[in-house]
Symmetry: C2
Subunit: 139 residues, 2 copies
């Protein structure tokens, strides 16, 4: 990695019943609960156009991950051979950005409730994006 540094600022936080990394589901579709995305007031204008039932992509900062690891046993299963982190979804990686595809259940001002999010309570949110239609004319 180069000496270049890039600076991000969270746009909000996750509020979730999940607090224990060891007990949290590894992916949203593996039994994760609903969670709230709580945006900072100065970026709320960026939500305009997001509607209930939309599928969105949430990028988070996995602030409890280790950044100095390049090889892991997939899914923490030591019976599986170690692989490079870039071929796994391990939170441990040089830039631990979480990628979550979720559906919007409810919007209340700067708060969005989403279904099945595996991020832990307090996780910083970096960005939200729409899931793109496969049809270019609908983008």
């Amino acid at each position: 990695m180069t000496d270049e540094r890039i600076e991000l600022a969270p746009i909000g936080r996750v509020e979730s019943p999940l607090t224990d990394p060891a007990a949290a589901p590894k992916q949203g579709d593996e039994g994760a609960p609903d969670a709230w995305l709580v945006l900072d007031t100065d970026v709320v204008a960026g939500l305009d156009g997001i509607k209930t039932d939309d599928e969105i992509i949430v990028l988070t900062w996995l602030d409890r991950a280790q950044r100095d690891i390049l090889g892991v046993h997939p899914r923490g299963d030591i019976s599986r051979p170690s692989q490079g982190v870039f071929s796994t979804r391990s939170p441990d990686r040089p830039n631990p950005i979480g990628l979550h595809r979720v559906q919007v259940a409810e919007i209340d001002g700067e708060r969005l409730r989403v279904h099945r999010l595996e991020a832990l309570d307090g996780t910083p949110i970096l960005d939200l994006k729409p899931v793109l239609s496969a049809n270019v004319s609908e983008r």
Copy 2:
């Protein structure tokens, strides 16, 4: 946004024939060319397990984007009403992280050639992740 700052370091760079933001395709499946992902030598071990033909997700830092914009006309089309940036894929947003799903065409040490990437030449790479199987037992 809070005063909290998060520091990332690029893991590599994009080498692409695309150099002009105005002329670049907006998404990979809109006519983007092949490009090389050139990883820094100290993170190459993280590639172990990635194979030719794999579909991967590339996260980039869109270093030519504007970060102080919360509303845009989708696809730069001023005939469309302005929307919040989080409901669009505009590069202009508070944390301009690019999300690209591509297929690996060739691996040569720390260099990966991928199909149809719309990122510009020189774009910093932040992370690589596998596309997950819908089948949990195959993860």
